[in-house]
C-alpha cells in the first residue's frame, strides 16, 4: 500500500500574528514554523497503514526551503521519502494554484491513499485537499476521525462526524482523506528515527521539473485577492462581577446576563 501525505508548514499555534507594513501579509521574523498539526495526524495514520499493509509513505510539501525541516520531521517519525516542491515563482500562490502544483507532483507517483489535513491552521482555508482530489479525479473523504482499509486493500471505510451524528462512509481506493482531530495520537520522532531521517531520500522539484508554467503561480496569479489584513476586533474591557460570596456573585452575574447582555 503506497501512501502520500501532504505536509504544509505553518506558524506555530503559539505565534502572535502581526500584520506587515504592506497591510496584506504577516510579519514572519519571529515565527517558529512547524508541521500543520492536522498533517501530523495524516503522517501517523499513514504509518499505521504501512505497518499493517506494507508499502511506502511519501511526504509531499510545497513551499520555501525551510519546509525541508518539517519533511525531515515526518521522515523521522517513519515516513520513507520526501518531495519538496519549491520555486520562487510559487511565493504567494492561492490554494487552487498550490493544489495544482501538488497534484502535478503526485500524479506520477503510485498511491492508494493520500492524506491531507482538514485545514491549515494558518489561512484556515481547507481547500487544498479537495482540490488535489478533484485534479487527480479521485474521491475525497473530508474531516475523518477513523480510517479502516479493507483487507484486500481495494476499499476504505471512514467515519466523519457531522453536526449531531457520525457518518460511516465507504469508498473505493485510491482516495484522498483529510484528517480531523481525533483520528489518532501522532507519535514523536525517536532519536534513531531522527538519525535515519537524515539519510532518507528528499527530492526537490521546481515548477519546470513538473512541466508547469510559472506564470500561473505566485501572488500575481491569485484568484483570491487579499485586499487587507486587520487585527481582530478588540473586545471591550469586561466587568469583574462584584460580590462577597459565590452566591452573591452568581446572583449578580445572572442579573447582568439577563438585563444587560440579554442572553438569558
Amino acid at each position: 500500500m503506497n501512501i502520500i501525505v501532504c505536509l504544509k508548514q505553518v506558524p506555530d499555534t503559539e505565534s502572535q500574528i502581526k500584520i506587515g507594513s504592506d497591510g496584506v501579509s504577516i510579519v514572519t521574523d519571529d515565527i517558529k514554523w512547524v508541521m500543520n498539526p492536522y498533517d501530523e495526524f495524516g503522517v501517523e495514520e499513514a504509518l499505521k497503514l504501512k505497518e499493517k499493509f506494507g508499502g511506502e509513505v511519501t511526504v509531499v510539501g510545497l513551499g520555501p526551503k525551510r519546509v525541508t525541516e518539517s519533511i525531515r520531521t515526518a521522515l523521522a517519525m517513519g515516513a520513507d521519502k520526501g518531495v519538496l516542491v519549491t520555486d520562487d515563482a510559487l511565493e504567494g500562490s492561492d490554494a487552487l494554484a498550490t493544489a495544482k502544483a501538488i497534484a502535478a507532483a503526485i500524479k506520477d507517483l503510485e498511491y492508494d491513499v493520500i492524506f491531507t489535513g482538514q485545514r491549515g491552521v494558518d489561512d484556515d482555508q481547507g481547500l487544498v485537499g479537495a482540490a488535489v482530489a478533484e485534479l487527480l479525479d479521485i474521491p475525497q473523504l473530508s474531516l475523518i476521525t477513523k480510517v479502516e482499509v479493507a483487507e484486500d486493500g481495494n476499499t476504505v471505510k471512514v467515519e466523519r462526524p457531522i453536526e449531531g451524528e457520525t457518518l460511516v462512509i465507504e469508498s473505493s481506493l485510491p482516495a484522498l482523506i483529510t484528517a480531523q482531530k481525533g483520528l489518532n495520537e501522532p507519535r514523536y520522532a525517536s532519536l534513531p528515527g531522527i538519525m535515519k531521517a537524515k539519510k532518507k531520500p528528499l527530492e526537490e522539484k521546481s515548477l519546470g521539473d513538473l512541466g508547469l508554467d510559472a506564470s500561473e503561480f505566485g501572488a500575481d496569479a491569485r484568484k483570491l485577492k487579499i485586499l487587507e489584513l486587520t487585527p481582530p476586533p478588540a473586545r471591550e474591557a469586561g466587568k469583574i462581577v462584584e460580590g462577597e460570596t459565590p452566591q452573591e456573585k452568581a446572583a449578580e452575574l445572572a442579573k447582568l446576563l439577563h438585563e444587560e447582555a440579554k442572553v438569558l
Binding site: 494558518d122 481547500l127 485534479l135 473530508s142 471505510k157 457531522i162 445572572a254 446576563l257
Partner: protein
C-alpha cells in the same frame, strides 16, 4: 455576464437546516445590493415540498434537484450536479454554509469550477458590484478582507451562527422549478453505509446558541455534571479546552480552539479555562463571553465581558440556581 446570487440549501432527513436560512438571508441582502435575483438550489429525495419555506426567507427562485441518489448527501453526487447547474446558470455569486457538509462540498465544487473560494466568512459585502468577503485567519488572530479576480462565480462559505436571519414572510413565495440535471451512477465512488446518531441530543458546538465550557480546572470527568446541569437549564451545549480533551475527560469533538472547533455562540461560559492563545482563537467571535476562574490574573479575563473570580465548584452551582429566576 454572470448574474444573480445562488445559495445551496443544506437539509438533513428532509428537514432544512438552520445554516440554510442564514445563507439564504445573507444571499437576499447581497442580491438586493446588486439588484439581482436570489436562487436557492435544493437537493435531496422527495424534497420539493420544502421549497416554499425558502421563498419565505427571500428566495426568488428555488431550483429543486429531486433524486434518490441525492439522499443522503455525498460529495461526488452533489458536486457533480451542482457544478453542472452553476456552469449552465452562470451566477455572479455562489454561497454555501461552512458546516461540515458545506466545507466538504465547497472545496470540491471550487476545484471543479476552477474558481477561488473564501472559506468560513463572517462578513459579506458588495463593493463596486463585486463580492468582498471578510474571514478570520489564524483562527481569528487576524482578519482578511478578500475579493475575487477573474473568477466567477465569486464563491464563499458563511460561518454558522454569524449571519443574521431575516424574518420569514408568509406572504412571499418563490418560483419553484425542477432542475434539469443528470447523475451518472458510474461516477459515484462513495456511499454512506451507516449513520450513528449522537445520543446526547445536544446541538453541535459550531451551531450552538450557548456554550458552557470546562477546562483543566474541572479536575476530572466526573465533575462535568455541574456544567451539564447549567447547560441543560439554559439550552447550552458543553465544550472543553484541549487540556480536558487530552486528559481523556471529554471527547475530541468537544474541543474548542485553533485545533478544535471554532465557535460563535451568543453566550460562551468558560469555567476553569486559563485562556491560552489557541483556546481564545476558537471562541473569540462569541457574542458574550463569561469567565469563571479562581486566578484573577488568568488571561481569559482580558477577553471576557463578565468575569467572576472564584472557585467554579461554588460559583457554577450557585449560578445554576440563580438563572432559574430568569427562565
Amino acid at each position: 455576464m454572470a448574474q444573480g446570487v445562488w445559495t445551496i440549501a443544506e437539509q438533513r432527513d428532509g428537514a432544512i437546516r438552520k445554516i440554510t436560512y442564514e445563507i439564504v438571508s445573507e444571499g437576499r441582502r447581497l442580491a438586493d445590493a446588486l439588484g439581482q435575483e436570489l436562487t436557492v438550489v435544493l437537493l435531496g429525495s422527495n424534497i420539493k415540498d420544502k421549497a416554499g419555506e425558502l421563498g419565505q426567507y427571500g428566495a426568488d427562485k428555488v431550483l429543486v434537484c429531486d433524486d434518490p441518489k441525492l439522499d443522503p448527501y455525498t460529495t461526488d453526487a452533489y458536486a457533480s450536479v451542482i457544478s453542472g447547474l452553476v456552469k449552465e446558470g452562470d451566477p455572479a455569486i455562489l454561497l454555501l454554509g461552512a458546516s461540515v457538509e458545506g466545507k466538504d462540498l465547497s472545496g470540491r465544487l471550487a476545484a471543479k469550477l476552477d474558481v477561488a473560494m473564501a472559506q468560513d466568512c463572517t462578513v459579506f459585502a458588495i463593493e463596486d458590484g463585486n463580492l468582498v468577503a471578510t474571514r478570520p485567519i489564524y483562527a481569528g488572530k487576524a482578519y482578511a478582507k478578500v475579493t475575487f479576480e477573474n473568477s466567477f462565480p465569486q464563491m464563499g462559505t458563511a460561518r454558522p451562527n454569524v449571519m443574521s436571519l431575516v424574518e420569514p414572510d408568509a406572504s412571499r413565495s418563490a418560483d419553484i422549478a425542477d432542475a434539469d440535471f443528470s447523475l451518472d451512477d458510474g461516477a459515484l465512488k462513495t456511499k454512506v453505509v451507516d449513520v450513528v446518531k449522537d445520543e446526547s441530543g445536544k446541538i453541535d458546538l459550531t451551531e450552538a446558541d450557548k456554550i458552557v465550557s470546562g477546562g483543566r480546572g474541572m479536575k476530572g470527568p466526573e465533575n462535568y455534571n455541574i456544567l451539564e446541569e447549567l447547560a441543560d437549564l439554559i439550552g447550552a451545549s458543553v465544550g472543553a479546552s484541549r487540556s480536558a480533551v487530552d486528559a481523556g475527560w471529554r471527547p475530541h469533538s468537544d474541543q474548542v480552539g485553533q485545533t478544535g472547533k471554532v465557535v460563535s455562540p451568543n453566550l460562551y461560559v468558560a469555567c476553569g479555562i486559563s485562556g491560552a492563545i489557541q483556546h481564545l482563537a476558537g471562541m473569540s467571535t462569541s457574542k458574550v463571553i463569561v469567565a469563571i476562574n479562581k486566578d484573577e490574573d488568568a488571561p481569559i479575563f482580558q477577553k471576557a465581558d463578565y468575569g467572576v473570580v472564584g472557585d467554579l465548584f461554588d460559583v457554577v452551582p450557585a449560578l445554576t440556581e440563580e438563572v432559574k429566576k430568569y427562565l
